[in-house]
């Protein structure tokens, strides 16, 4: 089992083996969450800090619940833009938090790379809860878990990710996580919503959702943000919905056993029709539910060593083996 210090990118888990480890741990934490007393002392005495520069009640509560179920203590430094001076050194903020005796900092920031910088400056573990357009590793892990839960091993499954890939940290983490687990990924978006270069991305691309939907096991919808309208990326939300939205008509194109996923929050009527979100094939609420157990697994992996003591039993010193036959002397 590899030791982990940070979870900044999906790549930090070291490929399929690492993600599998998280999946198995999550099974255990799902069981813990279903107990009469859903709590284990695994992180007793550890303190976690939430450093959320971007508002996110949902993700923060998910981490908070995970921490509490592991018996950890928490401190909240979530900052709305008014309480943090613009331009206050990220380093100073991180160091101040660490000085209070923190074992891990969970960071969400509008700037890609902010958790990576913090990880350079502190001894604590750093968990990336979303950095700009870059990655959102715990989201991808709960997505993997949800797919595995409903459809088994991801290897060989075909997953379409639809929407604003360019600006999506969820999409990036999902691409790396799904492909590491052996799934085939198709990105479906207009060219303006794709990253400038897909060199080295192990994905296929399509601009035609109707051709892709009948061929996939999972369709993963990304939020289409209204803010994007000012950037001339798509002519209008209506046009986006007509060409890429999972409408009531389009959902009929999916195979009977295909699943619909969304990281939330949904723009009902834009990327997903209101009724589609509530179909049995939409596992969006399962994603949220699994989020707590997945985050417990991540926090346990990063912080769950008892202490840094060497175990009590000293290294075994092997007794000399039974005497071998002596060779006759000449």
């Amino acid at each position: 089992m590899t030791a982990h210090r940070h979870l900044l990118d999906i790549a930090d888990l070291g490929g399929r083996a690492g993600i599998d480890e998280v999946m198995r741990l999550t099974d255990s934490f799902v069981e813990v969450s279903e107990r009469p007393i859903p709590r284990v002392p695994a992180l007793r005495g550890k303190t976690l800090a939430w450093l959320f520069y971007e508002d996110s009640t949902r993700t923060r509560l998910s981490f908070e619940t995970a921490a509490k179920r592991l018996s950890a203590d928490t401190m909240n430094f979530s900052v709305s833009s008014s309480s943090v001076k613009k331009g206050e050194s990220l380093r100073d903020t991180a160091k101040t938090i660490e000085a209070m005796g923190i074992d891990a900092i969970v960071v969400r920031h509008a700037s890609a790379g902010a958790p990576h910088r913090i990880a350079r400056w502190v001894d604590a573990s750093v968990v990336n809860a979303g950095d700009g357009w870059h990655e959102h590793p715990t989201q991808a892990l709960l997505d993997c878990y949800t797919i595995r839960q409903h459809r088994g091993d991801l290897a060989g499954q075909r997953i379409a990710i639809v929407g604003d890939i360019k600006h999506s940290r969820v999409a990036r983490s999902d691409v790396w996580a799904f492909t590491a687990m052996g799934a085939e990924v198709v990105l479906v978006a207009p060219p303006t919503l794709l990253p400038p270069s897909l060199d080295g991305w192990p994905v296929k691309v399509s601009h035609r959702i109707d051709e892709v939907l009948p061929t996939v096991d999972v369709v993963y919808l990304l939020r289409m943000q209204r803010e994007r309208m000012t950037e001339a990326l798509v002519p209008s939300l209506r046009e986006y919905t007509a060409t890429f939205g999972l409408t009531n008509q389009r959902v009929e194109l999916l195979r009977d056993d295909a699943m619909v996923m969304h990281p939330g929050p949904m723009n009902r009527g834009v990327e997903i029709a209101a009724e589609v979100a509530d179909l049995p094939r939409s596992v969006i609420l399962d994603q949220v539910r699994n989020g707590v157990a997945v985050r417990m697994a991540v926090l346990y992996l990063l912080l769950g060593a008892g202490t840094d003591r060497v175990p009590e039993v000293p290294p075994p010193t092997p007794e000399p083996l039974a005497p071998t036959l002596e060779l006759p002397r000449a």
Partner: protein, 427 residues
């Protein structure tokens, strides 16, 4: 007034525009008085194993004064320059206020008078560098400014740039351009390509630079005005300049050491020390820049020395300001990274830039009797490790932190005065 005393640079080999030869160099009263074997003087500066060359000239330094003195001052910038072998530097006008009037020009020149390097300044092309109205170039030219640029930004308006070029030509001054089309840049913080896609950072495409290079070449053709392209970074920019020069157009170009050494892969750690405008580009672009330096398309190496305080560089990548230190590492990088004869490297660092800004009468001179003694003594073999904390700059933002380089300045003479002796600044 100190008594005239003589100084000899002993045991080195001289490389200048005239060629390469061994010889001691005697300096009296600010001038070279003798060059030859076994010379003596009151004071000896050891140059054994070293190259004696005309002092380097940087046509692109941000000295941050007035307005941003926490990052650098004219004095600290000049000290770093002297340590890097520079005897002349040209300040860029993106200060606060901008250097867009005689008053600010005068202020910068005054600050430079006591500096350990000959400090010149450029002037802005437009008032406040806002790109709307021409700045009073004539009044600045009257104070000796020979080069005008809005550096930090490019002049966006095509019509305005044309007028600026025509006007400049009338005055006999040069214009230089920081080529960056704002609309195409779209708020990009690094090169738009496979790294920006993977890192999730908005990027600016190579075309944001190339579009303005293309435009200014066309305007140079239209107006006949000289245009100097600053910090060229892309393969196609270099190619267009090559063609323009071949077509006889009055076009020159410079490149920075970071653009012939580093690529956009360096940004993978999200360390804003690697954030710069124009951004670090692809490996192919680096190859093309080196080729441009090799075949003379790019005749000048300039540092674009851009100090920033630690606090500003400790912000997330997209919030941090772009820019890197350069004065103390340029020579070593040029000697280490470019596979070129030393004389050609020195041409790009010394006499070519001197000519570009009209100071060729005092800087970049041949090492010969009667010439002003603006010289540097370079040990080409010594290895040293770059450490931003020990540099003369007020700031420490060097992307080469911890890197081992070969080649370092031992002594620097400014009009005969040793401002650097054995790697130590004298003032």
């Amino acid at each position: 007034m100190p008594e005239s005393s003589s100084l000899v640079l002993k045991g080195g080999r001289i490389i200048d525009a005239a060629g390469e030869r061994t010889g001691d160099v005697v300096v009296v009263d600010g001038r070279v008085t003798a060059v030859g074997a076994d010379l003596t003087a009151d004071r000896v500066l050891d140059a054994t194993g070293c190259i004696v060359a005309p002092g380097l000239v940087d046509v692109h330094s941000h000295l941050r004064e007035p307005g941003m003195e926490e990052a650098e001052t004219v004095e600290t910038g000049a000290r770093g320059a002297a340590l890097g072998g520079y005897t002349a530097i040209l300040a860029m006008p993106n200060t606060t206020p901008a250097i867009d009037s005689a008053a600010v020009v005068r202020q910068v020149l005054d600050l430079g008078r006591t500096a350990p390097c000959d400090v010149f300044t450029s002037g802005a092309i437009t008032v406040g560098r806002a790109g709307e109205q021409l700045a009073p170039m004539a009044e600045m030219a009257a104070l000796g400014v020979t080069l005008f640029t809005d550096d930090g930004a490019g002049v966006q308006d095509n019509g305005l740039m044309r007028r600026a070029m025509e006007y400049a030509q009338g005055l006999g001054v040069s214009l230089a351009q920081h080529c960056e089309d704002d609309a195409l840049c779209g708020g990009g913080h690094m090169h738009e390509g496979e790294w920006s896609a993977r890192l999730g950072l908005p990027g600016q495409p190579a075309e944001a630079e190339e579009l303005m290079v293309m435009r200014d070449i066309a305007l140079a053709r239209l107006t006949g005005c000289r245009i100097h392209f600053q910090h060229m970074s892309t393969a196609r920019s270099v190619a267009m300049i090559r063609d323009a020069i071949a077509a006889g157009l009055p076009v020159t170009a410079e490149a920075t050491p970071h653009h012939f050494t580093l690529t956009h892969a360096a940004c993978a750690t999200y360390d804003p020390v690697f954030k710069v405008n124009p951004p670090l580009r692809t490996a192919e672009d680096v190859v093309a820049v080196k080729a441009g330096l090799a075949d003379g398309t790019i005749a000048i190496i300039a540092t674009d020395h851009a100090p920033h305080t630690a606090e500003t560089k400790e912000l997330p990548f997209d919030q941090a300001p772009p820019g890197m230190l350069g004065l103390e590492t340029a020579l070593a990088l040029a000697l280490t990274e470019l596979d070129l004869p030393v004389q050609q490297v020195l041409a790009a660092l010394s006499w070519n830039p001197a000519a570009a800004i009209g100071i060729a009468k005092t800087h970049g001179r041949p090492v010969a009797e009667g010439e002003p003694a603006n010289l540097c003594v370079i040990d080409p073999e010594v290895t040293w490790t770059v450490d931003g904390a020990t540099m003369a700059s007020r700031s420490t933002n060097t992307p080469f932190q911890g890197r081992e380089l070969r080649g370092r300045v031992r002594h620097t003479l400014l009009f005969g005065e040793p401002v650097v002796i054995a790697g130590e600044p004298q003032r």
